[in-house]
Amino acid sequence: MPPQLCTHCKTARAQILRPKNHSRLCAACFTSVFESEVAATITSTALFHPGERIAIGASGGKDSCVLASVLKTLNDRYKWGLDLVLLSVDEGITGYRDHSLDAVRRNAKELDLPLHIVSYEELYGWSMDQVVAQIGKKGNCTYCGVFRRQALDRGAARLGVRHVVTGHNADDVAETVLMNLLRGDLMRLGRATGIVTSTPAAAVDGLKDADGDDGAGAGGEVGITNVKRSKPLMYAYEKEIVLYAHHKKLDYFSTECIYSPEAFRGSARTLIKNLERIRPESILDVVRSGIEMARLVPEADGGCRGACGAKGAKKEVIQPDDEDEGNGGCGTGNGRGSGGEMAEMERKLLMDERAEEMGTETEIQPRPVQNGVGADGVKGRQEATPAPHPASTTIVPVRPKKKDGAPRAAVALPGKQTLGRCERCGYLSSQAVCKACVLLEGLNKSRPRTAIAVDASHG
């Protein structure tokens, strides 16, 4: 068949069939269109402010590699004046993260960006290899996801950065939207579909403005909880990210995490990819649907799920949501799915108080919603909306909590929760002790025995 021509420049041979609109582009036009679209996403959402210091959560995989490359390109091209730095988390997974970190190091050199690596080992005293040796392969993603979120925040804080960007793409968001639908968990849609997710915790102690200018610790030191997250590639197809990397010859690492179980997310992923083959627009349509649905669901984003009832409250502390929601630990890259419900709930709590100040957040969820039993929040909304409460009770058995019964009891807080800091580590938490510390406590309790066992096996 005769070569088709690029519909953009009409001279070069078409090489890319765009999934979103079936346009056929040559590699050069594609690269430029892809970059322009990311730039448009960033400017239309006012994602960054000039001179802002941004940490790019870099896993060495394709998404973060493309994100770093595009941001660097755009920053230079449009003179945004962003101060970009790569931030990687070393989970301590031999045979996986060590190789991917090599890729990050090469990227850093190539892009001439500083790189900072924080490790689980230094932060928590446990590498993931050790965690897995302790608890087995099953459920370890919970640990990884919870630890990663804090690790990125702590890494950002060390660097004095208030904003971490991650490489989540449209396919990831569509997957998460579907997973939330399949679980009947509409409350989470806001977090899944919002371009900005965690709220600057400067708001936490009520002393500061959401812009965080006078955030925790003067003199440039950023409190560990005072970090926001965003995903500039959330409208970019995974296919196009891979093609961008291919045509720009970017050097990325691609091997699944050796501990990744891929259970529920894997199925959602397969579904998305099958849909894409039949009707590629479906991916962005699912994303769009998720955004629209999030608007319709009062308290979408976690809200009262824990606070409004004892049963719901069980969900708050330990959520082995890893296998599905927590793409965090599952080889899908740095910062993905990171915080699980904790972060989402915390964000909701923040929004209760601060929604009016947060442009991007309000866009996700148009009104601040009260956390109480819903009368206020639901008032004036559609009849269908009270559903979340019964729904959240039915979810509980679906996602059984196998461990750490004790902390749950502490969670059945009446009414509106107040957001504070973990009494052990100071991380933003609505509980006295944050999720990571609870997990760590469990690990540390049984450590002596295992340590001996491990030593013996080595010795």
């Binding site: 896993s59 995974e238 990210i241 291919h246 691609s254 091997t255 990819k273």
Partner: protein, 105 residues
Amino acid sequence: MADNIDIKVEFTGGLEMLFSDKRNHKISLPAVDSDGQPANVAFLIKYLCENVMKSQKKDLFVLDGSVRPGILVLINDADWELEGEDQYELQAGDNVVFVSTLHGG
């Protein structure tokens, strides 16, 4: 008549691990398939599964008779959708790239 056509095949995005951890392969493909039809990409995929793949995990590459959804195929650096997908008839010197998008990023 040439009995074989020589092409280059590349596996990336994690697919290497199904093919002896080797990214670039030189393949000498029979010019016609068992039905006497000119070798196309569908035939190449079958050939790769039967002759080149060392891994048992065939379903990570092929599903329901075609490349698994989520794996991109580039023919001479262009989307195979633009080239006729698996019906594209291979020419000597062609470069076919299989890129998985299924791995983490």
